[in-house]
Symmetry: C2
Subunit: 216 residues, 2 copies
Amino acid sequence: MEGLAQVAGLLADRTRAAFCGALLDGRAWTARELAAHAGVAASTASEHLTRLVEGGLLVEHRQGRHRYVALAGPHVAELLESMVAFAGPDARPRSLRASSASEAMARGRTCYDHLAGQLGIALRSGLVGLGVVTAELAVTEPGMVWLKELGFEPSQRQLSRACLDWTERVPHLAGAAGAHLCRVFFERGWVRRIGSGRAVVLAPAGEQGWRELGIV
Amino acid sequence: MEGLAQVAGLLADRTRAAFCGALLDGRAWTARELAAHAGVAASTASEHLTRLVEGGLLVEHRQGRHRYVALAGPHVAELLESMVAFAGPDARPRSLRASSASEAMARGRTCYDHLAGQLGIALRSGLVGLGVVTAELAVTEPGMVWLKELGFEPSQRQLSRACLDWTERVPHLAGAAGAHLCRVFFERGWVRRIGSGRAVVLAPAGEQGWRELGIV
DNA sequence: GGGACGGTTCGGCGCGGGCCGAAGTGTTCC
DNA sequence: GGAACACTTCGGCCCGCGCCGAACCGTCCC
C-alpha cells in the first residue's frame, strides 16, 4: 500500500488539491493562473506542479515562457471525481461574486471532457428518453447507431461511465460517449464557455439543435 | 477541493494506508492485529484508527476489550481500489515467507466482498463463457435468471462492476452480483480461507460445484 | 540593448504530524 | 482479589513539508 500513500500524499495538500480541482475542467492552465487561483506565491506553485507532474497526475507542456499543465488523462479525472464524490462538496461560497460564479457552474460546466451541472443532467435525461443509453448509462444498440451518426468512433476507451455530479448529486454521462458529445457540441457552437472559467451555457443554436435531435 | 485534501490526507500516511490495505479483505480486524501488520506501536495504531473512523473511512465495533474496525462500506472499498489501481502494485516481497504468502494471495483472495486473484479471474471467465455477464461485466438477461436461481435479489446497489485486480492486472467481477456469488460460495463451503489472512482456496466441493454450474 | 514578465531555485522559517514509551482505564479470566 | 490483556491518553521528540522572498534564468517585446 506504499503506492496508495504516495498518490494520496500528492492530493493531501489543499493547494495541490485546489490545482487539481481547477484542472478538472479539462483545460490546460499556466502556473501563474493556478497560483492565483489557489492564493499562493508563484514559487510555491512551481514546486507543487513539479511534484504533481513527477507523480503522474499532471502533464506539462512548455510554450515559450509559459508552463501549461493539464490532467494526465481521463483516468486521473476519474480518480479525482471518485474522491470528490466520497468527500462530498465543500462548504459554500462567502462572497457575492463567488456565489454567482458557482451558480453559473451549477447550471453548466465541463467535467474534464464531458458536460456536467444541470446541463449535464438535462443531456443525460434526454439520452435516456431517446433510448440512447439505459438508466444505468450503458449505451444501447440503437444508441450506438445514433452516436455513429454524430461521428462517434468506438475506441479502446470505456464507452460510457456514470460520473457523479457534485453539485447535483446525480450521475451524468462520462466516458468516450460523453466526451464525444461534448466535443461535437463545442464544435457546432451549441455550447460555449462563459466568463473566465469552466462554466458553459447552451447557446440558442444549441437549444434548437438539441430539440432537433430530440434531446429536450 | 477542501474535502478532497482531507480524505487524501487520511490515506497519505503509509501506516494508515497499510491499515486500509489490510482491511480491503472485507473483514474486521482488531487494533492490535493492524498495529502488528503495519509494524507500529499499539498507541500509534489507536490514534490512526480514531482518525480513520472520524473521517468516515472505517467503522468500529467495540466488543469487550477489543476494538474491531472494518471499511465503512463498498464505497470505501471502491475508492481504495481505484487509487491502488492508479498507483500500481507495490514493489515485491523480500522474505521467503512473505513471498509464499503473496503467492497464496495471488491464487485467490477476497477483495472486500468478492473474489479476486486467479480465482476471481477464473470465475469471471466462466461467467462470460456462460453468458451470465458480457465481456464488459454487465449482467445479461439470462444472466439475471441464472443469478436468481442462486438466490440473488436485486437491490439498490450497483448490479455489477469491474474491479481491477492488482496482482493480475485484469478486471474481475465486483458489485452486488460479485458479492452475492462470493457469499454463496462461502456458505456452501466451496471456498474457504487458508492461513492467517485473506487468501482463499477453492475446496474440492467447490471444484465440483463450479463444474456443475458450468463455471469451469 | 533594456525592461517586463513567467517561471525556477534556494535558504530559512514555523507548524503539523507521526512515532514512541509510560501511565492509566476497562475487561476478562483465574 | 489479582494478573493478564486490549486499548487509550499524554508528553515529548524529531522530521518533513508548505510557505515565502530574494536572486536568478529565459523569453518576449519594444
